[in-house]
C-alpha cells in the first residue's frame, strides 16, 4: 500500500511535468501570443526535476549539483552548442538566412573547393599564420627578456607594450590604415601606400598584428621567466654560465610549457584574424592570378563573412565556417600534442 502511494507521488509529478513541458513547447512554436507559455515550460521542468528527485536512489547529490550548474550549462548550450549544431545542419541545405527549401547534401562542400577565391584565401591564411606565429613569438620573447632583465623603468615598458592589445582591432585597423596611406606616404615623398601592393599589404597586416599581439604574449612569457626557480639560476651562475648559456640551457627548457601555450594562442589567433584584416585592407588590393582578379589579402574569416553577408549566401558561408573549424581544430590539436611531447623531452 505504501509502495503504491510512493509510486504515485513519484510518477504523477513526472507525468504532469512532461505534459506541461510539451504544452509549453507547443505554444512556443505555434502560438507565440499566449502569455503562459513561459511559466508552463518552466513549471513543467521544475516538476520533472522534483519527480526525478523523488525516485528512490542514491543520486540525489548529483541532481542537486546538476541543478546548480543548469544556468551555466543552459547558457553554454544556447549560445554555443545549439548554434554550432545548427550551423553544421545548415551547411547541408540551401539556407539563405531566413529559411531553407531543400537539402543539397555535400554540394556546398564540393563547390567550395572549386572556388579559386576560397583556395587562395586558404593559402594566404596559412602563410599569414606561419609568419605571424613566428614574428609574434620572437618579438614577444625578446620583449619579455627585456622586461625581466632589470632594465630601468621595466614596469613602464611592460605596460606600454601591453597597451595596443587593449584597443579594439577595428579602431587599430583604421588608425594604421591612415598611417600607411597618409603618414608614410608623406614622410617619403612621392611614394605610394604600402596597401596598394598585394605583397606589401600582406606585410602591413603582419606588422600591425605583431605590434598588437606581441605585448599580450610577452606578458605570458614574463610570467614564465619569473617562474624559473632562483636556486637553479644561482647554481648555474656559480658554475660560471653566462647570460646566453643561462638563457639557452636553463631558462628555455624551464619555460617550455609557456611556449606551448603561447604558440597555441598565436596560432589560433592568427588563423582567425578578422578585425585587422577587415579594417586595414578589406581584401584589397587586387592581384592578377591567371587572367583573373582576386582579393590578395582576404583571409579565411573575411572570406566567410563576405560569402555570407555580402553575397547573401548563408549556407555556403556556413559550410566554409564548418571547414574552417575542422582545419583549425586539427592544426591546433596537432600543435599541442607535438609541443607536449617536446616539453617532456626537454
Amino acid at each position: 500500500m505504501e509502495g503504491k502511494a510512493k509510486k504515485i507521488t513519484t510518477y504523477l509529478p513526472a507525468a504532469i511535468g512532461a505534459a506541461m513541458v510539451c504544452c509549453g513547447l507547443y505554444f512556443d512554436f505555434y502560438n507565440r501570443d499566449f502569455w503562459g507559455r513561459g511559466p508552463l515550460l518552466a513549471g513543467g521542468l521544475l516538476l520533472l526535476v522534483i519527480s526525478l528527485y523523488l525516485v528512490p536512489g542514491k543520486k540525489h547529490r548529483v541532481i542537486v549539483n546538476g541543478l546548480f550548474l543548469l544556468p551555466l550549462i543552459g547558457a553554454f548550450f544556447i549560445t554555443v552548442l545549439i548554434p554550432f549544431i545548427f550551423g553544421i545542419f545548415y551547411s547541408f541545405t540551401d539556407w539563405n538566412g531566413i529559411k531553407f527549401t531543400q537539402f543539397v547534401g555535400l554540394k556546398n562542400y564540393g563547390q567550395m573547393f572549386h572556388a579559386p577565391d576560397y583556395l587562395y584565401s586558404l593559402l594566404i591564411t596559412f602563410l599569414f599564420t606561419v609568419f605571424n606565429m613566428v614574428s609574434v613569438n620572437i618579438a614577444a620573447f625578446f620583449l619579455a627578456i627585456l622586461c625581466t632583465s632589470g632594465v630601468k623603468g621595466r614596469n613602464f615598458y611592460r605596460a606600454s607594450f601591453f597597451l595596443p592589445n587593449l584597443i579594439g582591432g577595428i579602431v587599430l585597423g583604421y588608425v594604421w590604415q591612415f598611417i600607411f596611406n597618409k603618414v608614410f606616404t608623406s614622410l617619403v615623398a612621392g611614394s605610394v601606400s604600402m596597401l596598394t601592393s598585394p605583397n606589401l599589404a600582406f606585410f602591413a597586416i603582419l606588422i600591425v598584428s605583431t605590434w598588437q599581439y606581441a605585448g599580450y604574449i610577452m606578458m605570458i612569457y614574463v610570467t614564465g621567466l619569473q617562474g624559473v626557480p632562483r636556486d637553479i639560476l644561482e647554481a648555474s651562475a656559480v658554475d660560471g654560465a653566462g647570460a646566453l648559456k643561462t638563457l639557452l640551457h636553463i631558462k628555455l627548457p624551464m619555460i617550455a610549457n609557456t611556449f606551448t601555450v603561447c604558440i597555441f594562442l598565436t596560432l589560433v589567433n592568427s588563423f582567425k584574424q578578422f578585425d585587422l584584416n577587415y579594417a586595414i585592407t578589406n581584401g584589397a588590393p587586387s592581384r592578377i592570378l591567371g587572367a583573373k582578379a582576386v582579393a590578395s589579402t582576404e583571409f579565411l574569416a573575411l572570406n566567410i563573412y563576405n560569402t555570407a553577408i555580402a553575397r547573401n549566401r548563408y549556407a555556403e558561408g556556413q559550410t566554409k565556417a564548418v571547414v574552417f573549424f575542422l582545419i583549425l581544430a586539427a592544426v591546433s590539436l596537432t600543435q599541442v600534442s607535438i609541443s607536449k611531447k617536446r616539453e617532456v623531452e626537454l
Binding site: 526535476v49 522534483i50 605610394v192 596597401l195 583573373k292
Partner: protein, 446 residues
Amino acid sequence: MKKHLWVMAMAGAAAVLSLAGCGTSAQSGGTAASSAGSQSADSKAESQSQAKSGGQAIRIVNGKIEIDEPLKAFAKKYQEKTGQEVVIESLGGGVDINGTMKGYLAAGNMPDLFVFGGEGDYQTWKDYMTDLSGEEWASQTEFGFKSEDGKTVGFPYAVEGYGITYNKDVLKAAGIDPASLTTYDGFKKAFEAIDQKKGELGLSAVCSVAAESGQMYWSTGNHLFGYYLSGGLKRGDTTYIDQLKSGKTDTERLGQFADFMKLLFDYSDKNTLISGTYDDQLALWAQGKTAFITQGNWIDPSLPDYSVKFECGIAPLAFTKEEMKGVLADCPSWWAVYNKGTNIDACKAFLKELALTEEGQECLVTDCGMISPYTTCKVSPKTPLAMSLKTYVDAGNTYSWQWTKMPEGISMNATGKVFELYAKGEIDKDGFVNMMQTAIADYVKK
C-alpha cells in the same frame, strides 16, 4: 532528507527564475529573442511581435541613419495629429541591415515597415511584403518598387542621383560650359583645358576618383559601372542588365566605357585613386583641389562641413560618343509593409501622410534634404546638388539604377577588383574588358 529538499527547492527556484527571466523579457521588451526553449524553431515559426500585441504603435526600420532625426520629428507630429504612435528605428553607418532584419524575423520581432534595397533584397524578402498597388501615392510616382507581376510593393521616399559632380566656379574660370559635358569628347576637351590651367586654378588634379577595391568598390563597381548598364537608355530598358545576369557583356559598349574610365583615371589624383577612402575623395574635391568628383547628391549634407563656397552641379558620366544628357537617378531603397503585421492599415495611412501631405513632403525634402519621388510634390529642395538633380528629374532626363539588380556582392567580390587593377595601370583597355567579362561570367555561374 529535509535538508536536501530545501537545497533542491532553492536550486529549482533558481532554474525557474532563469528560464522565466527569458520568457518575460521577450514579452515586455520586444527586442530580445523569444524564450529559451523555442530558440530552435523560431526561424520557421509564423511569428508575431510581442510588442505589437500590447500597443498599436507601428515600428519602422529605416536604413538611412542621416534622416533619423527629421523622421522622428515627423512621427511625433503625426502622433499629435492622429494619435497613432510611430516608432522609428534607424540602422546604418556600417550596420548590416539585412543581417539585422533576419535576426528580427527569427526572433519574431519584425517591424511593421522595413527597408529593402532593390532586386536582391526583394528576392530575399518577397514573401513578407504587402501589395501596395492600390494606394493613392502609387499612381503618382514612377519610382515605386514593382514586383515581377507588376504590383507596387516598395514605398519610395527619396530619389538620389549621381554622375560627375563638378565645381562650377572652376569650370567657369577655365571657360567650360557644363552643358557641353555630354559626350566622351566633351569631357576630354574639358579635362585637357582644365589640366593646362591647373596651376592658376589652384588644383592638384582634375578629378577626384577613388578606386581602391577594399572600401571603394561600391563607387566603382556599382555607381560608375551603373552607367555602363543603363546610361543613355530609357527607364525600364533592361538590355544590359539582362545580359549581365546571364553572364554576358557587350564588348563594344564596355570598350567605350573602358576608354572613358581610362580618361577619368588619367586625370585623377594618383594617391586618392589607388588608396583613398570616401572621405579622402570628398575632402579633395570639397577643398577645391579638383574640379570633378564621381559622387552624387548624397554629398550635399557634407558640404557645410568643408564650408564649401563654390557653386556645383551634376553632369552625366557620358562615356559614349553619342550625346548622353541625363543622369542616373532612382530610389536607393524602399520601404515595404510587413504582410503579417497587425497594423497594415495604420502603416498605409502613415505612408500616405508622408508621401502626399505638405508636412510629409516638407519632412522628406526640406528636413531630410532629399528629392521627392512624387509628381505632386510642391516643395523644392534647397541644397545645391539636389537642385541640380531636380532639373534632370523634372525634365525627365534620368536613367534608372539597373545596377541594383546585379547579383548580390558582385561589386565587392568581382568587378571592384578589376577597376582597381585598371586604375593602378596593371591592365590596359583590352585587359579591362576581358577581365571584366570573365569576372562577371564567373560570378554569375557560381
